[in-house]
Amino acid sequence: MSANGLSDVERIKAASRRLRGTLAKSLVDPVTGALAEDDTQLSKFHGIYQQDDRDVRSERKRQRLEPAYSFMIRARVPGGVLTPVQWLNMDRIANTYANGTVRLTTRQAIQLHGVIKWRLKETIAAINEGLMDTLAACGDVNRNVMAPPLPQLSALHREVHQHAEALSARLTPATRAYHEIWLDGKKLDSGAAEKEPIYGDTYLPRKFKSTFAIPPQNDVDVYSQDLGFIAISEAGRLAGFNVTVGGGMGMSHGEPDTYPRLADVLGFCAPGDVLEVAEAVVTTQRDFGDRGNRKHARLKYTIEDRGIAWFRDQVTARSGVVLQAPRPFRFVGNGDVYGWQQDDSGLWHYTLFVENGRVADAGGVDLLAGLRAIAGTHTGEFRLTPNQNLIISNVSDDARAPIDALLAEHGIGNTIRASALRLHSMACVGMPTCGLAMAESERYLPALVDRLERLVKANGLEAVPITIRMTGCPNGCARPYIAEIGLVGKGPGRYNLYLGAGFAGERLNSLHLENADEDDIVGALSPLLQDYASSRGDAERFGDFLVRTGVVREVRAGREFHAAARD
């Protein structure tokens, strides 16, 4: 923290001239593959994270070489919808500039990994040429706006998706820095700074996540987000939204003042009020969020500290919208439904299982090549799901068979026949590129699931969905605190095991085992799965069962998350 009580990132933002900093100079410094230190904070606002290959970090230090720096680029895909042409463009960019894989994220965005500094500018330019961008995909701003890919209800999906796009546009930073630095846009006179009407000089205190949800699926995990709009459909048409605020996953190990928190439902608003309400929520957080301590800067702490009533007053005063009482709704799960489904207009949608969101050609499954082939003929859409899967959307009757053939040809057809546990698994990227990872995640979860599958099968549970999510650190990118089995990295090969979240993402889980290695994890789950198989209630979910039988205590609020574990 600096002398004036502000965190260092606040100083960097304030001095950045609307996110310019010295990025342009950093990009052409030929003796380091890194950006200048302050610029590594600013690049995030442009959708770019500086990372390094942690597998060789210590070796390179001995070799007197700097870390093997490369960059992760996150492209925004509002609502997760993209055209086959856009997909082909990302595929080409991944193979030309990045590591030859495309990573689907838990926020329906697309990540490319392993882009070196000298090729960043070309890569960003190529993404923009494909009519996508990366601005505000990371950083202390509103990030990629999520919306359910929900295939069955075509009209409702379209309408909600339009709201998501509008919200995304409204909350996009106004700075021209992005165009200047990456797209050779005309430079503003030095010293001049464009207006940033919503964000102001220093943007938000911390990242800000927003989503739309359409019950009964909670695939977007609306409760994990700063701002959510739950679509309320009455008599077949969109009546409005229940507004949720103050969700967030991130915490730090050993710091009980930090905790995951599920969002509160603030009230109901009409469709026409969405943008005003959203802007009021954002500016309240802008003005009252904690800018001194970044671990206490998310909206969830602002609301915890000042109370939900105070917050509602702020929103009302700022937006002029008086929220009504929330309308009833029900969520049944937060996973995806796989395979072919037909929507109410008669078009078909195929939800593909993409293990941990990694689209690559590996292990006999040529996912990247297969999707390239499909995109070459497909005339509909691709939709990215919040569970890191992909939907081939809007397929006519006669186009199904050719797509099935292409899926089979590339070894993709059978992936959705994996166990229900695997189909409900999710991991963040973790090692070796993520700088925050304390333990393996994406590279390890499939192997752990292999082992757990044997347990599940032994207990006859292979068709029973159980959500299992792993992250390499406690920041929670894969939303592990709302998984029935949550695993959060503590150190190499060691995880905290959290159990008992709600299957629809409506309840946090609770710490069951600390610093567990693989044998500890399997050893702990083995008797629990056995009990679950033998004595679960009708359609009772694994998380609910563990709470009912007292294996873990029910966590009713984020601030009780750590206390529940201590009991």
Binding site: V31, T32, V56, E59, E66, W118
Partner: protein, 594 residues
């Protein structure tokens, strides 16, 4: 004492100096005078004679030397010292300091000169060489001379500079008093014999200046450990500094000099006594069907063949002498043709692509162990530019060594020294070393800006330079040009350069990586891109240093510098070339290329 003022000989002292000298020795007893004469002679010897005013041509032996490594200087110094001891007026001068115009006044001259790269004179000898071979060279009817040529017979134009001088001085009318002697890397014995022969002739060629007097020598700081007695230095670190994906294996080697009393300065080299790759020794034994334990003679020593191949004989780089011998053993016409005069280009190509083992395998011959050994050169110590500042690393010396290993002609090849250091010594082992001073590669005054051009392992001495300047708190600006194959895998000492830059000790750092992009970029391209600034630095008195590959890089950089000077100063190429030569003479363009 008044005879001192006699003007029959040209006196190197002015009137005031003569008066002071006369006052200083006035009233001394004969024994005291004897001591003083020795003391003064010792002072002159300790100085290497370089700063003493040149004795005028006349009844004087002039000992000239020009070499890149300092070996030539050592030979010349010994010869001059012994001539002086025998009472002859002797003038020892580096070719860098010798005025060509004096040549016509010389009556007796010895010249020790090395050959560099593919037949080039060493930097110090370049101007003198050009003058002597030019039409401007005077007739030398009075001159008697002897030339000792140093070289490396694995290059095709072996000892070319010495040959040039030897031939040309005769053409100009000089009389050869000793035939040209050509020395290979194992020069010691041949050089000593040459010096003995020269000394033996002196009584007939020169009048003694004075009857020899016993004298005391001024104490010189002589290292106990030297070439004849190398110091066993413990290996403190042997760290690969290219990344796993690199096509190269470059090692940072740290050695302990603790207890050795060895001293060095940034710019010096370290010579390493090496062993040959054991796989290669075995390969020779198999290939030739020879008994490893059979006794052979190397010099005056008798020892088992395996040991001789392991540590006494050069068995990697081939040379002309070996090819000639092997042509005889094998009766291979191809080989005989190669070593005939006029086939230099083909010979150079062959030597570049064939090691001794390749010749032995390609042209079979059945010979005795003794004959084989007789065809080989002695294994010489290998020199590496030192990569550390002694001030920053007390009692340590660091080297940057590229391990030479490659596949060719269907078998693995190794560089003897580099793989000895990279593969065959571990931390805790010891390596025998001695210091080779390189007085022609030195940092300037602390406030002088420097431009360092050191691609590949040529960057080694510049690591020492920067470390030294940091230790000294030097204020002069530092600019480094580095290049290699790839940024990610081959940026030698990257973290150190970044730290120096961050701390303000490296003002500019420009890099060129040849395999990162479609078109190959080398340091000379970066030099041209920065032409204006380089010229600006030169204008402010900067010294330029170049270290590394002699074959391509040094020439390319040289051309780039000429272009830069020509373009920036608006001069033609000849003028620019002259300007660069002036810079070299003034010590502002120093090279350590190999």
């Amino acid at each position: 004492m008044s005879t001192l003022a006699a003007d029959s000989i040209a006196l190197p002292l002015d009137a005031q100096q003569l008066g002071e000298l006369q006052r200083a020795v006035a009233g001394l007893a004969p024994a005291q005078l004897t001591w003083v004469s020795g003391y003064v002679a010792g002072l002159a010897a300790a100085d290497g004679g370089r700063t003493a005013p040149a004795a005028p041509p006349g009844e004087t032996l002039t000992v000239l030397y020009g070499s890149q490594t300092g070996n030539g200087q050592t030979i010349a110094e010994r010869l001059a010292e012994r001539a002086r001891d025998q009472g002859y007026a002797t003038n020892l001068v580096s070719l860098a300091d010798y005025k060509p115009a004096n040549l016509k006044r010389e009556t007796l001259l010895t010249l020790v000169v090395s050959t560099h790269g593919e037949g080039d004179p060493p930097d110090d000898a370049e101007l003198f060489h050009e003058f002597v071979l030019s039409d401007r060279a005077p007739k030398l009817a009075k001159l008697r001379y002897a030339v000792l040529a140093l070289g490396d017979s694995s290059y095709s134009n072996f000892c070319q500079t010495g040959r040039d001088f030897d031939t040309r001085l005769a053409e100009l009318g000089g009389e050869r008093v000793q035939p040209l002697v050509e020395c290979d890397l194992d020069y010691e014995d041949a050089a000593a014999a040459w010096a003995e022969n020269v000394l033996a002739e002196l009584p007939e060629l020169l009048k003694p200046a004075e009857s020899p007097l016993p004298r005391l020598r001024a104490v010189k700081n002589v290292a106990t450990f030297d070439k004849s007695n190398p110091f066993p230095a413990e290996v403190l670190a042997n760290q690969k500094i290219t990344a796993a994906d690199s096509s190269k294996d470059v090692r940072h080697i740290e050695l302990s000099l603790e207890g050795s009393g060895l001293r060095y300065e940034p710019g010096d080299s370290l010579a390493v006594i090496v062993h040959n790759p054991p796989q290669l020794v075995s390969e020779f034994l198999n290939e030739l069907g020879l008994d490893a334990e059979e006794a052979v003679t190397v010099g005056s020593e008798s020892l088992p063949l395996r040991q001789a191949l392991d540590e006494k004989l050069e068995i990697t780089a081939a040379n002309q002498g070996f090819l000639r011998a092997w042509a005889g053993f094998s009766g291979a016409n191809e080989l005989s043709k190669l070593v005939e005069p006029g086939n230099n280009a083909a010979l150079a190509r062959f030597l570049e692509t064939h090691q001794i083992i390749d010749v032995v395998r390609k042209y079979s011959a059945r010979i005795s162990a003794e004959t084989f050994v007789g065809s080989l050169r002695k294994l010489s110590p290998r020199s590496y530019s030192i990569a550390s500042s002694p001030a920053a690393n007390p009692d340590e010396v660091h080297l940057t060594v590229a391990a030479v290993r490659y596949e060719a002609l269907g078998r693995p090849h190794w560089g003897a020294a580099s793989t000895h250091l990279a593969d065959r010594v571990a931390e805790g082992d010891s390596v025998r070393v001695f210091v080779e001073p390189n007085p022609r590669f030195r940092l300037p005054s602390d406030d002088t800006p420097i431009i360092m051009i050191g691609p590949g392992t040529g960057v080694a001495p510049f690591r020492a330079f920067i470390e030294e300047r940091v230790e000294r708190g030097a204020t002069g600006r530092n600019w480094l040009f580095f290049g290699d194959r790839t940024f990610r895998n081959d940026f030698l000492y990257q973290l150190e350069w970044l730290r120096h830059r961050k701390n303000g000790h490296l003002d500019r750092l420009d890099v060129a990586f040849s395999r990162d992009r479609g078109s190959k970029v080398y340091v000379q391209h970066r030099l041209r891109e920065n032409a204006r600034d380089i010229y600006g630095w030169l204008d402010e008195g900067a010294v330029i240093y170049v270290c590394g590959d002699a074959k391509h890089m040094a020439g390319d950089v040289h051309d780039a510098l000429i272009e830069i000077i020509a373009a920036q100063a608006g001069r033609n190429r000849d003028d620019a070339e002259r300007r660069l030569k002036e810079l070299r003479r003034a010590g502002r363009y120093q090279r350590d290329v190999y």
